[in-house]
């Protein structure tokens, strides 16, 4: 039983669906929010949280379904209507003008250019800031404020516009623990005063601390809705990443020798995103090593080290038993490291280049040019080889890559990475956002590479994928790496505890 059961329903999303091409970002998602309630929207990246909130806020138009605020249907595709109906959103990336004061930022956009100034804006802001415990000086310049203070300004901005429903998108991603506590205190005051809050997050302990109810999204669908006091972190983690095993499983193999070795590797933190903390990891031939974890726990740092984009600030990296000192993407490539980057649009491809140019992006110096002259004929033949060999559906090698679907783009990148016969393969979120057919294809190729004797590191936030494919599973949390668990030795719930970071404390104490 939720504490606000029976209270007035302030927001109702009814069977919202939204597709982008073949990808169903939201599939018949329903949600109700009551007066004075905090509902957490939980899910991994790409689960559909942001799409859903963008539909509510009028940035996207849903293919199907309805939005009702305070019993009134909300016209689709109109951000002003959402604002007028009392929905306020605090984005992950703040939208403040640094050279203006707090008060000016709050009033910005609320008044017509020529209208007379609101006579008591300052009074209202001071009153709100007192009532909600949002202490910030109205005349301070925003560029002088800390991140936590800026967030308070964003919330004040929403409250100033008489928001009755607050949507917070990953509000604690940039906050220190103390600032997060202060935010939670504010949210408790707000709900006490009758406001309702949707709290988007994938941090389990925060959801447990602040939310009354929790809705879990996965692959665009609601996979669970629970009262937070009737559940625990492990169960939420399992729900979020999926405990049921449905994807293709790879048969176990006897592991070969170590091809790449990380010893006590440490990298610097980037703001709130942790770097690696004394990570030791061995990638073995003929083995898929799965890296599970909630996003933003150091996966990106590990991927950067392996891909050649960064050297550890402490610890050593060895390749084929030789210690690496000179390390760059080019050195990685020439040493047989194949890389599938996390972000295929920004790292993996150049949108306005055609398939031929994208296909030779990594090998243009070694295979497709002589004395600085490009051999475009060979390049085109190579692109055609990948298109045929990896089932890339496209009009031809002259097509610009950004016109391809995510799945076909990924197949080209996969083909490019595999072409040189790499014996170490970094696959960072290789199937995120792909449709079912492409997922099976890409995963099949990774298994085939392993069977050929390659060492594969699979980084994914999808536990099903990790458990289905990996011979060894490590969990990363706050930049720390768990011991390796052999296939089948851990349940999803066990891994969930590691992902939540609890097991690390136990291990540290022991």
């Amino acid at each position: 039983m939720s504490k606000s059961e029976g209270a007035e329903v302030v927001l109702r999303l009814d069977r919202i669906s939204k597709s982008f091409g073949a990808l169903k970002a939201n599939d018949s998602v329903s949600l109700t929010l009551r007066r004075g309630e905090v509902v957490a929207l939980l899910g991994e990246n790409g689960a559909g949280k942001t799409t859903l909130m963008n539909i509510l806020f009028g940035h996207y138009v849903a293919d199907d379904g309805e939005v009702e605020v305070f019993g009134q249907p909300l016209p689709p595709g109109n951000p002003r209507a959402a604002l007028a109906a009392g929905v306020g959103m605090v984005h992950q990336h703040f939208t403040l003008a640094g050279n203006l004061t707090v008060l000016e930022n709050i009033r910005l956009g609320t008044e017509h250019l020529w209208a007379r100034r609101h006579p008591d804006a300052r009074g209202k802001v001071e009153r709100l800031s007192r009532d909600f415990g949002l202490s910030v000086h109205p005349d301070a310049k925003v560029c002088r404020l800390s991140v936590g203070e800026r967030q308070r300004v964003e919330i004040l901005k929403a409250l100033y516009r008489d928001a009755r429903i607050l949507i917070l998108d990953e509000p604690t991603a940039v906050l220190t623990p103390q600032e997060s506590e202060a935010l939670f205190a504010t949210l408790r005051k707000a709900t006490g005063l009758g406001l309702s809050v949707i709290f988007i997050s994938h941090k389990l302990h925060e959801v447990m601390a602040i939310a009354d109810r929790c809705i879990v999204l996965r692959h665009g669908r609601v996979v669970g809705e629970v009262d937070t006091h009737a559940t625990d972190k492990g169960a939420l983690a399992a729900m979020m990443v999926g405990g049921e095993l449905s994807l293709p499983r790879a048969e176990a193999r006897a592991p070969g020798k170590v091809l790449m070795q990380l010893d006590s590797v440490t990298t610097p933190d980037h703001g709130a995103v942790p770097g690696l903390k004394q990570v030791s990891l061995a990638l073995r031939a003929g083995q898929i090593t799965g890296l599970a974890g909630v996003s933003g726990n150091g996966q990106a740092a590990l991927a950067e080290v392996i891909a050649g984009l960064a050297l550890p600030s402490a610890g050593t990296l060895s390749l084929h038993d030789a210690r690496i000192t000179d390390w760059s993407p080019r050195v990685a490539l020439s040493n047989g490291v194949g890389r599938i980057p996390e972000d295929r649009h920004h790292q993996g491809s150049i949108g306005d280049f055609d398939l031929t140019e994208n296909a030779v992006l990594e090998a243009y110096r070694t295979r497709f040019s002589r004395r600085g002259w490009m051999n475009w004929r060979a390049a085109r033949a190579f692109a055609q080889e990948i298109i045929a060999g990896y089932d890339v559906r496209c009009p031809g090698p002259e097509t610009r890559i950004r016109l391809l679907s995510g799945g076909n783009m990924q197949k080209l990148i996969l083909g490019r990475a595999m072409a040189s016969g790499p014996d170490i393969i970094l696959a960072n979120q290789p199937v995120r956002g792909l449709d079912v057919g492409a997922i099976a294809y890409v995963q099949g190729q990774l298994i085939a590479a392993r069977d050929r004797g390659a060492a594969v590191l699979l980084i994914s936030e999808d536990l099903d994928e990790i458990m289905g494919l990996s011979d060894v599973i490590h969990v990363i949390s706050q930049g720390r790496l768990s011991p390796g668990f052999a296939r089948g030795s851990m349940s999803a719930a066990d891994l969930g505890l590691w992902m939540a970071g609890q097991k690390f404390e136990g291990a540290d104490a022991a």
């Binding site: 109109n78 140019e357 992006l361 990594e362 600085g372």
Partner: protein
């Protein structure tokens, strides 16, 4: 109103909009002529006649186009890598200085012409090296540094012409001594005022085009300009590519100064360039950064300037109309480029 990206603009959109931009420029020019109190059709006609109406006019236009092809190429090469070189004017003067230093007797025939061209290119390249190193090492915005170097260079030239490089026989005018005859670029046809610099400019455009489409460096330049993150991930040395681009760009801009001094003026003075470096930006943008397109747009732009001079004498409309035309053309073209990539949506 907001802008929505267009995934795949149609050919009609990609080619039609630039044409529309030129048409819009003409229309605005006619309004300007009307405001100046002249018959707009007559003004446009006189500009066209002044630029192309006689053999003399055509040669004058091609002469004027020569430095614009070089500076236009310099800008096009740099902008392709998203290296914003606004300093072609300074690099032009750097080239001109070296041409005068080597061409006034320091070197003799027959090597003085190629060596002075080479030295000019090195000087221009060196001048852009500073800003690009500041950019790659410290993240200093090259727009600011290259732009400000233009003023520093102009003052430096002014100092040279009043001091160490002043022509003792110049009756007090701030100009350098004249080049020796062997250091001058010959005319393509005897008796006609068109010098070999024009042919070399076209050759340079072809060379740049070949570099961009056929070489690994050209591939790198385009990749770094389109998506530096992907270029870095793929193993391209992004900073090295930027430095190479800068050297090429600075060298091309310096050739504009070399060809003006060696081909046309024969000496260095402060009126060597009426803003060829800045006009090169317009030339490059109108050509959508295509090196062969630069030749066409440079001749077009030169024609407008030459034609406006003639028109001004005949119609009494100030020559400033040429500058306004150029500015309008640039704005229309930038808008056209924007609208090929985005469409305007209400709401």
């Amino acid at each position: 109103m907001r802008l929505e990206p267009i995934a795949n603009p149609t050919a009609a959109r990609r080619l039609g909009l630039p044409v529309l931009a030129i048409a819009a420029t003409m229309l605005i020019a006619m309004v300007l002529a009307l405001i100046a109190g002249a018959n707009p059709f007559a003004v446009l006609g006189q500009i066209a006649r002044g630029a192309l109406g006689s053999k003399l006019a055509i040669l004058e236009t091609l002469n004027r186009a020569t430095p614009l092809i070089f500076t236009g190429l310099a800008v096009a090469v740099a902008f392709r890598a998203k290296l914003w070189n606004i300093g072609a004017e300074a690099q032009l003067y750097a080239g001109a200085i070296l041409t005068v230093v080597l061409g006034t007797g320091a070197l003799g025939a027959p090597l003085v012409l190629p060596l002075s061209a080479l030295a000019a290119m090195l000087a221009g390249a060196a001048l852009l090296l500073g800003p690009v190193l500041l950019k790659t090492r410290l993240g200093v915005d090259e727009v600011v540094t290259t732009l400000l170097l233009n003023f520093i260079m102009l003052l430096f030239v002014s100092y040279l012409l009043e001091g160490p490089m002043k022509d003792p026989l110049g009756m007090g005018w701030p100009k350098s001594p004249a080049l020796i005859p062997e250091a001058r670029l010959p005319r393509i046809v005897d008796g006609l005022r068109l010098h070999w610099g024009f042919a070399l400019a076209i050759l340079a455009a072809i060379v740049v085009w070949v570099i961009q489409t056929r070489t690994a460096l050209g591939f790198e330049i385009r990749a770094v300009g389109q998506n530096p993150e992907a270029a870095r991930f793929a193993g391209m040395p992004v900073n090295v590519v930027l430095i190479k681009t800068a050297l090429l760009s600075g060298g091309l801009a310096a050739l504009a100064g070399w060809s003006q001094v060696a081909g046309l003026k024969g000496h260095l003075s402060l009126d060597l360039s009426p803003g060829f470096g800045y006009t090169g930006i317009i030339v490059a943008m109108l050509a959508l950064l295509h090196p062969l397109g630069v030749v066409v747009t440079a001749i077009f732009v030169a024609g407008i300037f030459v034609g406006s001079d003639a028109m001004s004498r005949a119609a009494g409309v100030p020559t400033y109309i040429a500058d306004m035309l150029m500015a309008t053309a640039l704005l229309c073209m930038v808008l056209a480029i924007l609208l090929t990539k985005f469409r305007v949506v209400r709401g």
